[in-house]
C-alpha cells in the first residue's frame, strides 16, 4: 500500500516537473527578443517619380548638348524624370520665362545655369515659395535664392590654369586677348578675374589687350576673333573663356593663316576642337566633361528631393568623389585636351 502511494507521489512529481517543458509547440520559432520587424520587399512603398528640370544658359551648343546627354542618362539610371529646357540664346529674360513655365509644371527641382545672377533671383525665390528646390550649376546666382551651386572646377584653379596654358605656348611674352561669353555670367567673370591675377603674378611680359564678349553666339565669336586679329597684329594668343570662344578663334586663326603665330587656348569641348588641335590651329583646350556635369546635377538634385545634401568627399556613383566648400560643390579637376589625347573624348 505504502509503495503504491510512493509510486503515485513520484509520478505526480515527474508530471509536475516536466509539465512546462513540453507545452509550446505552436510555431517552429519563438521570438526571444526583437528590435522590430523588418519590412518585406512587398511592403516597401512605391515611390513617386521625381521630376527634375535642368535649365541651361541656352540650348543647341555642343557644350550644353553634352550636358543634356549626361542629364538624360542620369535620369534613366536613377529613375527620375528629367526635363531639359533652356532659352535659345543666352539671355536671362528668356531664361526667366522658361523657369516660370517649369514652376507651373510643378517640378520637384529646378537646376539652373544662370545667365544673370541678379535678374534670376525673383523668379527662383518664387519657385522656392512653391516648395520647389532650386540649385544652380555651371553658373551661379545669389546664394540665398538656391540650395547649393554645382561648380565644375575650382574657379581659381581653372582661371590660373587657363593663363598657364597660354603662357606655355607663347613663351610667357606678348599681347593676348580674351573672348568671354556673357559679360554678366558670374562664373565667366570669376575665371576672367583669376586669369588676370595669374598674369599679374607670374607673367609680367605678357599683356592683356582686350576682353570681348561673344554672348555665347558662335558666329559673333568668330567675327570678334577676326576683328581682334586685324586690330592687334602683334597678338600672340587668344583665350576663349567660354566654350564658343576657342573654336571661333581657331577658325579665324586658320583662315588668317596665322597658325603657329597666334596660340589659341581656352575652354571648349574636345569634339569641336578636334580638327583645330590636330592641324595646329589651337594648341590646348581645357574643360571638364559636360556630360558628367549633367549627370552629377541630376544625381544631386535627386538626393536633394530625398533630403540628402551633398557632403565633402562624397562618392557619387558613376561620377566619383566630389568636393564641397560651404554651399558650393566642385565636380573635379579640369581636363586638358591636346592633339595627342583629343581622340579619347567624345563630347
Amino acid at each position: 500500500m505504502a509503495r503504491r502511494t510512493m509510486t503515485l507521489v513520484g509520478l505526480f512529481i515527474l508530471v509536475f516537473v516536466s509539465g512546462c517543458t513540453t507545452t509550446n509547440n505552436k510555431g517552429e520559432f519563438e521570438v526571444v527578443y526583437s528590435k522590430g520587424d523588418v519590412k518585406g520587399e512587398t511592403e516597401k512603398i512605391e515611390e513617386r517619380q521625381y521630376t527634375i528640370a535642368i535649365v541651361p544658359k541656352l540650348v543647341n551648343i555642343p557644350y550644353f548638348n553634352a550636358v543634356e546627354e549626361g542629364a538624360l542618362e542620369a535620369g534613366e539610371e536613377l529613375g527620375v524624370k528629367v526635363i531639359y529646357k533652356g532659352p535659345t540664346v543666352a539671355d536671362s529674360t528668356q531664361q526667366i520665362k522658361v523657369i516660370e513655365e517649369l514652376i507651373n509644371q510643378k517640378v520637384d527641382v529646378i537646376a539652373v545655369s544662370a545667365n544673370d545672377p541678379d535678374k534670376l533671383v525673383p523668379v527662383l525665390k518664387r519657385a522656392q515659395r512653391k516648395d520647389i528646390k532650386v540649385i544652380t550649376w555651371d553658373s551661379d546666382t545669389h546664394s540665398d535664392s538656391r540650395e547649393f551651386f554645382i561648380n565644375m572646377v575650382n574657379p581659381e584653379t581653372l582661371g590660373r590654369h587657363l593663363m598657364d596654358t597660354l603662357a606655355w605656348n607663347v613663351d610667357e611674352k606678348g599681347e593676348f586677348a580674351i573672348i568671354t561669353g556673357s559679360k554678366s555670367a558670374a562664373n565667366l567673370n570669376v575665371w576672367l578675374n583669376w586669369i588676370k591675377v595669374q598674369q599679374r603674378d607670374y607673367y609680367p611680359n605678357m599683356k592683356l589687350v582686350e576682353v570681348v564678349a561673344s554672348d555665347d553666339d558662335p558666329h559673333k565669336a568668330y567675327m570678334l576673333a577676326k576683328d581682334l586679329l586685324a586690330k592687334y597684329p602683334n597678338l600672340k594668343g587668344i583665350i576663349g573663356n567660354s566654350s564658343v570662344g576657342p573654336p571661333a578663334a581657331a577658325q579665324a586663326v586658320k583662315e588668317e593663316g596665322k597658325m603657329g603665330e597666334v596660340a589659341v587656348v581656352g575652354l571648349s569641348s574636345p569634339n569641336p576642337m578636334n580638327e583645330y588641335l590636330k592641324i595646329g590651329a589651337a594648341q590646348v583646350v581645357t574643360l571638364w566633361s559636360p556630360k558628367k556635369l549633367g549627370y552629377l546635377t541630376v544625381a544631386l538634385a535627386t538626393n536633394l528631393v530625398d533630403g540628402v545634401y551633398p557632403s565633402n568627399q562624397q562618392d557619387v556613383p558613376q561620377v566619383g568623389r566630389i568636393h564641397v566648400i560651404e554651399d558650393t560643390v566642385i565636380m573635379g579637376e579640369p581636363i586638358d585636351f591636346t592633339k595627342e589625347n583629343v581622340d579619347q573624348y567624345d563630347f
Binding site: M1, A2, T5, M6, V9, I13, F16, V17, C20, N24, N25, K26, G27, E28, F29, E30, V31, V32, Y33, S34, K35, G36, D37, V38, K39, G40, E69, G70, E73, E77, W288, S289, K291, K292, Y295, D315, P317, Q318, V319, G320, R321, I335, N341, Q344, Y345, D346, F347
Partner: protein, 597 residues
C-alpha cells in the same frame, strides 16, 4: 477521484502521514527549484538574445565598413590616366600594341591591387573583348567567354557582390572569397569601359568573428539575401543554402527554435550591406552550460531534501503510529485474557499518556479480578475443607469407636455427652453457608472437638480455653481454629504422652487474637523456614496448600488484608504458639453488611 479519496481515507495512518509529509516537502521544493531554474535559464536566454543582436549589428557595421573599403577599390583605376586611356581604345593596328596595353594594365593592377591590398586575391577587367588579369594565387575558371556576363553588362553604375557559386572562378586551395563586380564608367565621356572584378578573400570575416564576444560553440554565418552562406565559422558549409532561412521570423533580434532535437537560440541582424544577414546560432544547451551547475546543485539539493523529508516523514509517522500499533497489539492481548502485558511507555506525549492510562486500567482490572476471583476460589476451598472435616471419616470412626467402647463399659453419661457433642459439631459443619460465625460458636466448636478428643485419649490430653472478651458480640471466619488445633493434635499426640493445648482469645489494638499454644515437640527449623516462606508469600500464589495453616492464613489475608493472618512461634521441645489475628468485627456490622449485599 472520489474512489481515490475514499481509498485514501482507508489507508493506514502511517501511509497518510508519509504521503502528507512528502507532499509538504516535495511539492514546494520541486516548485521552487523548477521555477528558479526555468526563470534563470529564461533570463539568460533573454539576456543573450538581447545582447547578441547588438554584437551582430556591430559586426555588421565592421563588415559594412570593410566592404565599403572594398567597394572603393575599383576607384583606384581612375587614378591612372594611362589605364583609362587603354580602356577607352577599341581597335588595334597590331598584336604588339594590344599586348603592350595589356602589359600596362596588368602591371597597374598588380601594383595597385595585388601588392597594395592584403585581402585581394585577384583583379580582373573585362573590356571590349580584352581580359586584363592580375592574381595573387593561381586561379582557374575565369575566362572572358566563360562568363555569363560580359563587358556589356548593364549594372547602371552599381556594383554587386558575386558568390563563388555564381561564377566558375576558383583559386588554388579554395579560399573562400567574394567577387566584387563593378562597371567601369568613363565618367567624362559617359561611356561604359568594361567591368571590373575583384576577388576578396573572406578571411576578414574570421577577424570580425574573432573579435566578437560571443558565446562558446556558437555558429556564426553570413547569409546572402537568398539564404546562401557567404561565410560560416564551419568553413565546409560556405556556399551551402540555409534551408530554413525563408522561414525565419522577419526581425532583427533573437528567436529560438522549438521543434528541433537540440533547440537553438538564433540571433539575426539584417542590417548588413547588400541585404546580407548575419546569423548567430547557439545551442540552448551550450548557452545554459554555466547554469548546469546551478541545475545540478538544485537537483542534488532537491534529492537530498526529498530523501531527508522521506526519512523524517517515515520516522515521524513511525513514532506516531508505532506506539499506537503496539498499544493495539497489547489491547488485543488483554482482550484475550493476558493481563501480563508491558505497556510502559517512555514517552510522555499523548500516546505515552494513553499507554499509561491503559496500563493503570489494566492494573486496576487485574486487581479487581484478583480480589473477586481469588477470594471466591479460596472460599470454595475453605468450604470444601469444612465439608471434608465434616465428613472426616477418621475422626468419625475414632469418635464412634470411643462411643462404642463407652457403651460396652456402661458409661452412659459419657455416651450421651459424646453423642450430643458430635451432633452439635455436625450441625456446625453443616451450616456452612455462612462464611462468618460468632467467635463464640467457633470457640464452642473447638471446645466440642477437644472434648471428644479428651474423652478418647483421657488423661493424655489436657486443654483450656480462655476468652477475655465478649465472644458473642464479634464474628470470625468459620473454621479458622480447627485446622490449627488439628495440626497440634496430629504432631503433639505422636510425640507427647501428656499433651496440653491452650487457646486464648483476646482483643488487642482493635484486633482479635486467637492464640493456640501447645507443649508439643515444636517445629524443626527447616520446616519452620519453609512455613514462614509460605506465610510471607503472596497468599494468592498457592491455593493448594499442604498446610492447613497456610490455608487459614491465606483466607484471612484475602479477606482482611496483609496485615492480618497467622504468626507462628516455635521452640523445639517446648512447644508451638500460633497466633491468628483478625480485625475486630462486631456482629451487627456483619449483619448490616450482609443485608447490604
Amino acid at each position: 477521484m472520489t474512489f481515490k479519496w475514499k481509498s485514501f481515507k482507508n489507508y493506514r495512518l502511517m501511509t497518510k502521514l508519509i504521503f502528507t509529509y512528502m507532499l509538504l516537502t516535495v511539492l514546494p521544493v520541486s516548485l521552487i527549484g523548477y521555477v528558479a531554474y526555468s526563470q534563470y535559464t529564461k533570463s539568460i536566454e533573454e539576456q543573450v538574445g538581447e545582447y547578441i543582436p547588438k554584437v551582430l549589428d556591430q559586426a555588421n557595421e565592421s563588415i559594412d565598413y570593410y566592404l565599403a573599403d572594398v567597394k572603393q577599390l575599383p576607384e583606384l583605376l581612375y587614378n591612372s590616366n594611362q589605364v583609362i586611356e587603354v580602356l577607352r581604345k577599341d581597335t588595334y593596328q597590331n598584336k604588339s600594341s594590344l599586348l603592350q596595353d595589356r602589359f600596362i594594365v596588368n602591371s597597374y593592377l598588380t601594383r595597385t591591387y595585388i601588392n597594395g591590398e592584403a585581402d585581394v586575391l585577384g583583379a580582373f577587367i573585362l573590356s571590349k573583348n580584352r581580359l586584363f588579369v592580375s592574381s595573387k594565387i593561381p586561379y582557374s575558371g575565369f575566362a572572358e567567354d566563360m562568363l555569363p556576363f560580359g563587358q556589356d553588362l548593364e549594372l547602371k553604375g552599381k556594383q554587386s557582390f558575386l558568390l563563388p557559386s555564381q561564377v566558375p572562378l576558383s583559386f588554388k586551395g579554395n579560399p573562400p572569397y567574394i567577387l566584387l563586380m563593378r562597371q567601369i564608367t568613363d565618367t567624362e565621356n559617359r561611356m561604359n569601359l568594361g567591368t571590373m572584378f575583384i576577388a576578396v578573400d573572406l578571411s576578414f570575416m574570421s577577424k570580425v568573428v574573432e573579435n566578437l564576444e560571443t558565446v562558446n560553440n556558437a555558429d556564426l554565418s553570413l547569409l546572402s539575401d537568398e539564404g546562401q552562406m557567404i561565410y560560416h565559422t564551419d568553413s565546409e558549409k560556405i556556399g551551402l543554402m540555409d534551408e530554413q532561412f525563408q522561414k525565419y521570423p522577419k526581425i532583427n533580434g533573437s528567436f529560438r527554435t522549438t521543434g528541433e532535437e537540440e533547440n537553438r537560440l538564433i540571433s539575426i541582424s539584417r542590417a548588413g550591406p547588400d541585404d546580407w544577414v548575419l546569423l548567430h546560432s547557439v545551442k540552448l544547451k551550450n548557452l545554459t552550460e554555466r547554469t548546469d551547475l546551478v541545475r545540478n546543485a538544485t537537483i542534488i539539493v532537491f534529492i537530498v531534501i526529498i530523501l531527508l523529508g522521506t526519512l523524517i516523514s517515515i520516522f515521524l509517522a513511525w513514532t506516531v503510529s508505532r506506539p499506537i500499533h503496539l498499544l493495539t497489539h497489547q489491547m488485543k492481548e488483554v482482550e484475550k485474557g493476558n493481563f501480563e502485558v508491558d505497556v510502559t511507555s517512555k514517552s510522555s506525549d499523548e500516546v505515552g499518556m494513553l499507554a499509561k492510562s491503559f496500563h493503570s486500567m489494566v492494573a486496576k482490572i487485574k486487581d479487581l479480578i484478583r480480589l473477586n476471583y481469588q477470594i471466591k476460589l479460596q472460599q470454595k476451598e475453605a468450604e470444601l475443607y469444612a465439608l471434608q472435616s465434616q465428613i472426616n471419616p477418621h475422626f468419625m470412626y475414632n469418635t464412634l469407636e470411643t462411643i462404642g467402647m463407652a457403651v460396652e463399659e456402661g458409661e452412659n453419661d459419657t455416651v450421651v455427652d459424646m453423642v450430643s457433642i458430635l451432633g452439635r459439631m455436625l450441625r456446625f459443619s453443616i451450616s456452612n453457608k455462612e462464611k462468618m460465625v460468632n467467635i463464640d460458636q467457633e470457640v464452642q466448636h473447638m471446645k466440642d472437638y477437644l472434648t471428644i478428643q479428651k474423652i478418647r485419649f483421657e488423661d493424655r490430653i489436657e486443654f483450656s480455653i480462655q476468652d477475655h472478651m465478649e465472644t458473642k458480640r464479634f464474628v470470625t471466619p468459620k473454621f479458622i481454629l480447627q485446622p490449627i488445633v488439628e495440626n497440634c493434635m496430629k504432631h503433639g499426640l505422636d510425640h507427647c504422652h501428656h499433651f496440653k493445648v491452650e487457646i486464648l482469645i483476646e482483643i488487642k489494638d482493635q484486633e482479635v487474637h486467637f492464640t493456640v499454644k501447645d507443649n508439643g515437640p515444636g517445629i524443626n527449623e527447616a520446616v519452620m523456614a519453609e512455613l514462614n516462606k509460605y506465610l510471607q508469600m503472596d497468599p494468592m500464589g498457592r491455593r493448594d496448600s499442604k498446610f492447613g495453616l497456610i490455608n487459614v492464613h491465606g483466607r484471612i489475608t484475602m479477606m482482611f488484608g496483609e496485615q492480618y493472618g497467622l504468626h507462628i512461634e516455635s521452640k523445639g521441645g517446648i512447644g508451638t504458639e500460633v497466633t491468628i489475628r483478625i480485625p475486630l468485627i462486631p456482629m451487627d456490622l456483619l449483619n448490616e453488611g450482609e443485608r447490604a449485599n
